[in-house]
Structure formats: C-alpha cells, structure tokens
Subunit: 140 residues, 3 copies
C-alpha cells in the first residue's frame, strides 16, 4: 500500500479555463509505482475550481468561460457579497457548481483518463494569483 | 493503514447554505491518527447537497441561495415531477449540479482545507429535516 | 486492504439521464468482501457525466434533461466550438457542471446509498455510443 501527498502551487493564470494536466503530473513521479489506485487533486481556494474536459480543441475552454459568465454573471443586483470586486461572488458560485476536487483512477502507473480528457484549472478571478493544490495518490 | 467510517445525522436546517465544518469534525476525532489520507463525506439524500466554499462572510451563503433559485426556479411549467411540492424538483436539480459528496485531503491529523474553505450543507428543501451523512476516513 | 479495479462499457443510451446502478453493480461482485471502503466510478468521456439522484420516479430524470437543456442550450451564437454538431458544446458544459466521477461509501459489502439514491449515466450527446467506465473499489 502506497500513500503519497504533496502540496504544490500552480502558476498564476488569467481568468478562464486552463489545461494543467502536465503541470500537475510533473509533481507526482511516484505515480509510476502504483498499479491500481486513485489520484486526488484538491484546490485550497473558493474562487477557482477543478474540472476534467476536452484536452484538444481550445475553443471548448473559451466557450466554457463564455457560457459560465452568462449563467453566473457579475453585478447581479441581488448580490450582497460585493465588496471584493465584481468578479468575486460569481467566482464563489462557479466554484460551488464546478467543484474543488477531482478523483482520477490510476492504472499501471498512469492516470487512467480517456483519450480526450485533460485536467482543467478553472480560474474565476481576474487576477487570482498562484493557486495551491494538494495531490494525494494512493494505491498498491 | 487506517479505515474509519461513521454514519451521522446533521440537525435539521432551513433551506439555504449552511456552514457545517465543526458539526462534522466533532464526529471524527480519529482523524488525528492519520498523517496522510482523505476524508470522504457523503450525503444520503437527493434533495440536499454538499459543497466547499467561503467560511467567513455569511453573505456568500445568502447569495448562493439567491442565485441557485434564479437559475433553477420553482414551478417551471415543464416540470413533470411536481407532486411533492414546488421546492422538490428544483432540489433534485440543485443536488445534481452541486453534488452528493466531498473528498478532502487529511494532512498531519487535520483536514487540509484552505484558509477560507469550509464545508457546506446545501439544504434545498423548505423543510428537509435531519440529513444522514456517511463519513469515511482513510490513510496512514 | 483490498484494491480492485475494472474497466467496463455501459451500453449505448439515448440522450438523457439513465439509472444504471444495477448495470454497474453486476460488474463488481468483489464489493462483498469489503466491510468499510469506497467505490470510485469514473467516466472516460467529456460529453457524458455521472450523478446520483432519485431512483424511483422517472419524471425526475425527464425534468433534469429538460432543465439542463434550458440553462445550457444548443446553438448559442457565441459558441466557437460548433463543428461536431449542435449537441457537442452543450455536452461539454454539462459534463463540467455535473462531473466525471462519483465516490460512494461501501459498508458491509454494499454501496451505502440512501433509500432514494441511484447512479445516473447522464448522456449529453444524441448518439453517444457505448461509454467507458473505470470502477475502483478499495477498503478493508
């Protein structure tokens, strides 16, 4: 039985959906030792989130940003939490909708993702800065 | 390797988003024994959900309730599932959007949450009653 | 400590929300050996998702499909990713909103779901075909 945990920082990114599969994988070479297991990826913030989606055509990531801004807009008159900037309350809502963590199977030393799947950092603030991530891999 | 599981009931709460980090933690003192691991928190209901978000300013929780009611309203004319009250079908949709479980890293005997992160019980019914939760912690 | 992992295919289903609890359970008889643990169910696609919701009244699943089509419609003029059919970009957004995996507690050899909870395959494409799922169960 193997447990391995590491806290990392992802480099600051602009608002939007970003493919970070490789930026995450480079921190967990220990994954190679696991034949069957899972990788847990957790973001320690309430205004950014993690998702899995299309790893090829970047237009998917652009459309995700556009559509999330339509259904969770800035400056709605009923927002009471509005002292931290127009982008702040929508960021909290998007984070609740998309989620703060991912759990991905590990098979034969690799993340067992589908052909078209990649890991997204979803940055919901205009200037979110670095984002802290805790990666926990376990298996045998 | 440690596995520990407990089924608990969270006290009945009004419709809305509620911070329950402490109400959950008091049931799992065993977490102190785990250096590296994960805590899984699962809600056994289809009209309430679990999320992680802002643990300080309560206006975030109010705005979440308001905005979810905007995008997932009651009494839409196309709802076919409408015999259990106006709040029932929206509750099912919100539960699918937000999710039924959380997985949080454990580090050195504590939940490794970010500074501003807390655990929310998202109660989508007007009178949901007590909510059953299964907590499973594992690690070494 | 038990780890068991299996990759399966769920039979092709029409667009909509489908109850697949039994179709999944029949592939993991090994669950009976686990007293305390978790079952991880992961879909290897970016245009279908997994959720937990109402296992009885099928009108809930119909309303979910209807409402998700309202808040994430086809053919929005701002979609740039539109070469794979009108149902494709909405499928990616729905997948990000609903999520690609589930983690369910195992207790005394069974999934510890609530009375009304079942596992949904959420098929967001008109003709999505078979869907590959990785099931990982662990526990003691």
């Amino acid at each position: 039985m193997i447990w391995h945990q590491k806290e990392i920082s992802l480099a600051a990114k602009g608002r939007g959906f970003h493919l970070v599969t490789d930026e995450i994988l480079k921190h967990i070479p220990e994954i190679k030792k696991i034949k069957i297991g899972t990788a847990h990826i957790f973001i320690k913030h309430t205004s950014a989130s993690l998702a899995i989606n299309e790893n090829a055509d970047p237009s998917v990531r652009i459309d995700l940003e556009t559509h999330f801004n339509k259904i969770i807009p800035e400056d709605m008159p009923y927002y009471q939490h509005n002292t931290e900037g127009s982008d702040d309350m929508p960021a909290h809502i998007k984070s609740v909708v998309i989620g703060s963590s991912l759990l991905i199977p590990i098979t034969n030393g690799r993340l067992n993702l589908g052909t078209w799947q990649g890991i997204y950092l979803c940055e919901h603030r205009d200037y979110g800065g670095q984002r802290k991530i805790v990666i926990t891999i376990s298996g045998e």
